[in-house]
Symmetry: C2
Subunit: 597 residues, 2 copies
């Protein structure tokens, strides 16, 4: 079984040939220091960490899993050392502003780093990922004193962090949160309640863990509008940022899960724990939502990362495993059989993986650049970048994770019976990745966000921004070649259909709000296929426009994958469109109690 190898050639292609990275980074305010050399050295450093530190702990982390003993959580061997090194090497603060103690590099760069280290070992990477939750809360709404107290130790990897939202009776429905906070005379709060599904809620890697906690101050209103955000450290910290003693925070148990066994999923009990309010009372969800958007994009990156790992496993196996002869005659006459990559259906599976993974990576690059532009880009373009990001985020989260699971399962399928055996690693990708369509908002929640908030609520204006962009691309590029022209024809047809779908659903929803949920997931998947088609057309154009003849094989493979995508995957839009238009009646006519008959 081969180990993960960072797909640096893919990064070079996207940065250099598709997304014009030099111009992009040069346009960002405050990112002047990101020279091509620095960019390269950051990527190579992340590659080395991913391949050399995180990947070797992938299988063993799953085999050992986490153990719970008397309130303590023991993480797999090597996890603590890797976490320490990650912090010491400065990765934790990579994209945090310099004035907050970070390295001040653009978010898009963080996406590439997250992909590589996450593909190498997503379970491990969750500890560093979740440590950013309190960091983002503090940066977004903390006081200078609060920041000084907590940020440095998290950013240097000395302390971990979490996001405590879910309770046993409420996940998607955060308004039902029961954890309560009482204001003390000294301005601190006392928190009481129990949170579940807290990733990294307890571990043996850091001396302190900084929890960001949603809770309700006694007397504040019910529902989401009464929620406030608190920082609650496992160990109490004085103003100088030194640990003074334990807080009333404990880990009640850890979950036995399908996958991500190296990542501790904890029940965290707050028994009169001391916390500090971040921002204003009753404004907790606003801060949390900002963080959740980041987490949603991070989860999209999980879909991409695990897809990349799955396709590496599958391709290696398909090139090595010899089984049966090609129907068009032996391709490996000296062997007993041909490598299975000669069989068209194995190629269909591998190309499906490639088309989704490479398309999703282009999607991630696009999103990364939009974040860069929304924050640091030329003033005139910031709003548009933020608008696009807002529209695309739920699509990215749900579509990339749903297709990521298809990619992972195809990977297992390529292995045949050997894919079901743990030693070969691929079944772990399927198990680890299965949560990605669930946490940080299920596919259903993302889909409601898209059709409700991002389409219906603004009368389709955000959608029109996206279709305008695609139409502009087509107007500019359709004449580049017959192939690009054909892609553009299809994209233009789909843009019309897309807007028509949105208009029909909107019209129906005015009479019956159930029309939203009844079309939402199919509308989202439909949208995702169009976004990827647009990106594949852009990649194909970039290849055709490229002048580097030494890359002939690479270019030919990219163009073939684009063709594959348009011919074999994009037609799924027709099935999703039909389902999205089927109407609420096809779902709602059965009375609740009759389902159980």
């Amino acid at each position: 079984m081969s180990d993960y190898r960072a797909p640096t050639r893919e990064f070079e292609f996207l940065l250099g040939e598709v997304f014009g990275a030099s111009d992009h980074y040069a346009s960002l305010e405050g990112c002047e220091k990101l020279t091509p050399e620095l960019l390269d050295s950051v990527l190579m450093g992340a590659r080395d960490f991913a391949e050399g530190v995180a990947a070797p702990l992938y299988r063993s982390g799953d085999q050992q899993g986490c153990r719970y003993e008397d309130g303590n959580v023991l993480t797999p061997d090597g996890f603590a050392d890797a976490f320490r090194q990650y912090g010491e090497d400065g990765w934790q603060g990579l994209t945090i502003a310099a004035e907050e103690g970070g390295q001040g590099l653009p978010p898009s760069l963080g996406f590439m780093v997250t992909e590589m280290i996450g593909a190498a070992n997503w379970a491990w990477s969750m500890y560093s990922g979740l440590a950013m939750a309190p960091v983002n809360c503090l940066i977004s709404a903390g006081t200078p004193e609060q920041k000084a107290q907590y940020l440095p130790k998290i950013l240097d990897g000395s302390w971990g962090g979490t996001m405590c939202l879910t309770e046993a009776h409420c996940g998607s429905d955060v308004g039902l949160i029961r954890t309560r906070a009482t204001r003390e005379d000294d301005g601190t709060y006392v928190l009481t309640g129990s949170k579940i599904f807290v990733s990294g809620g307890e571990q043996d890697m850091t001396e302190n863990i900084i929890h960001s906690v949603l809770a309700r101050v006694e007397g504040d209103p019910a529902g989401t509008k009464g929620l406030s955000l608190f920082i609650v450290p496992k160990m109490l910290v004085n103003e100088a940022g030194e640990i003074t003693g334990p807080n009333a925070v404990s880990c009640g148990s850890i979950e036995h899960k399908m996958g991500l066994k190296g990542s501790a999923t904890c029940v965290i009990n707050f028994d009169g724990a001391t916390g500090v309010l971040i921002g204003e009372e009753c404004r907790g969800l606003e801060v949390m939502f900002e963080m959740m958007n980041t987490a949603r994009l991070g989860t999209a990156l999980q879909g991409l990362a695990m897809g990349e790992l799955a396709r590496q496993y599958a391709l290696d196996y398909a090139q090595e495993r010899e089984q049966m002869r090609s129907l068009t005659g032996p391709k490996n006459p000296d062997g007993e059989a041909d490598p299975i990559l000669v069989h068209p259906d194995v190629r269909r599976m591998i190309l499906t993986q490639n088309a989704f993974v490479e398309g999703s990576r282009a999607f991630a690059f696009w999103l990364g650049q939009l974040i860069d532009l929304g924050r640091f880009g030329p003033e005139a373009g910031r709003q548009q970048a933020s608008d696009l990001l807002e529209f695309l985020t739920p699509i990215a989260k749900a579509f990339v994770t749903e297709t990521g699971q298809e990619v992972a399962n195809l990977g297992l399928q390529v292995f045949g019976g050997h894919g079901y055996v743990a030693d070969n690693g691929i079944e772990q990708v399927v198990r680890d990745g299965r949560i990605s369509t669930v946490y940080e908002g299920t596919t259903g929640i993302q889909a409601l966000d898209l059709i409700g908030r991002k389409v219906l609520a603004n009368g389709g204006s955000l959608l029109k921004q996206v279709t305008a962009l695609i139409r502009a691309f087509c107007a500019e590029s359709a004449s580049a070649s017959d192939e690009i022209g054909a892609y553009c024809d299809e994209l233009l047809r789909l843009c019309d259909e897309w807007e028509g779908l949105a208009a029909t659903i909107t019209d129906r929803a005015i009479k019956n709000l159930d029309e939203l949920g009844s079309s939402s997931v199919d509308f989202l998947m439909y949208s995702g296929y169009i976004v990827l088609a647009y990106l594949w057309a852009r990649m194909a154009l970039a290849v055709e426009s490229g002048s580097d003849a030494s890359n002939a094989a690479y270019s030919a493979k990219k163009l073939a994958t684009a063709r594959f995508y348009f011919a074999r995957l994009l037609p799924r839009t027709s099935a999703h469109a039909a389902a999205a238009l089927a109407g609420a009646e096809t779902l709602m006519s059965i009375p609740h109690d009759d389902f159980a008959i």
Copy 2:
């Protein structure tokens, strides 16, 4: 978490209202004793075994798994007792002819029993399922002496059995088998070689295990045409069927797998083991193929069984879990939130499960009746029944398991984060079921069988038998109601398109055999959606024609599910048709070595 409940109401509906069971069973030769009372008592007995004996070992079997210690395999607690009871109660020989020592009941009845016991605990049921492998080999090609020696003890549950095909270097490509056999002077053979993926190859439940083994007699030709079939017992048996001592058969290790952890998957070493030839030399694959067809249908039943379990879990959860309000106003005003079944997208998931599971069960009933008719039906109809069965078998195996995995994953999705936690049972369904599209011939192998052997090889005549049947149904039923009429219109359109697809692929394959594999899986899935549409139309017609007004709610739910299927799932045929027609060039243009760039 609720336990499995056998869906007896569904069986009644299919037996009584859709598939005319009384007439069917009355038409079978030698099955006269199957009165409605006996049928009912067999089904109730299987239900009791499934719910009372097999289901309670479902979670614990996964948690404990199998352990390997010094050549012995320890199965989970309770597995041995359940196996003993199963044999003692006469289930093992249920559909075996009376003259061979069985109960002589029709195969279709066995399908229902397999579904129930398999849904309750597939891992456990593999031990009894695989014990039928040597039974079927012996019945199909064994001598009376061989049968007398082995059958009684297997059929009463005293001994287990296996199927030993796969070797480390060959799975789908059985022609590469290296296990060899040498003829001895006494007519027995000495076998040497190593088999992998042998389910139940070693266990602590029975005093003997009868292996059916594919091997090559020294001097026989290479490839599949040189393979012979042997019975090789773990413990040697004299002519009276008594154990005389150990054979040179040992278990080298067991696999650590994604799921089905209660089922031991063994490496079995034959180190000069004594075996007897079954049938003639070099004719092993013929016998084995017959058995493999049975195994393929058994695996289709796994897809159905695990889908049923997944939908039970998901529906229970969706009716109990309260989260958020219906967008059309509170449905559970006294609670904090509404049960999630009020949300259209949750209904979409549950109805997708129902449409696939109930459609697949109808598919299984149809196949069961075709086996009955092919063996025991009126002479005039036997060939047609066998033809239909031959065509439908690869579709059933691949389509029901592929959609079964969609059903299982939707079940997990309904649970949200709680679905990822082992205690809730649903993630086990996903893990256990994941192998079903792989073993007994992957989806890719089934698809090649369909397009190659079942379409191309006979110039589409088998396909025409199926479309003729569907067209006849439409001619007869289209006028029953507007709804049935609309379904028939769509079925007729699809029959034309189906034949057109087959003709196009056949034409192209004459020039390039890679066109087969390049269209095969999409053609198979496309075919499966049509078969299920036909069965949903039949079910809808049965409901409309039914006179039992007391079943109004049940009938309404069935009709709504049929509508759902036609409106929301059947449109997927368009995407599969487009992909099937995309051509081999979209897959084959990339040179083998360039994939790794």
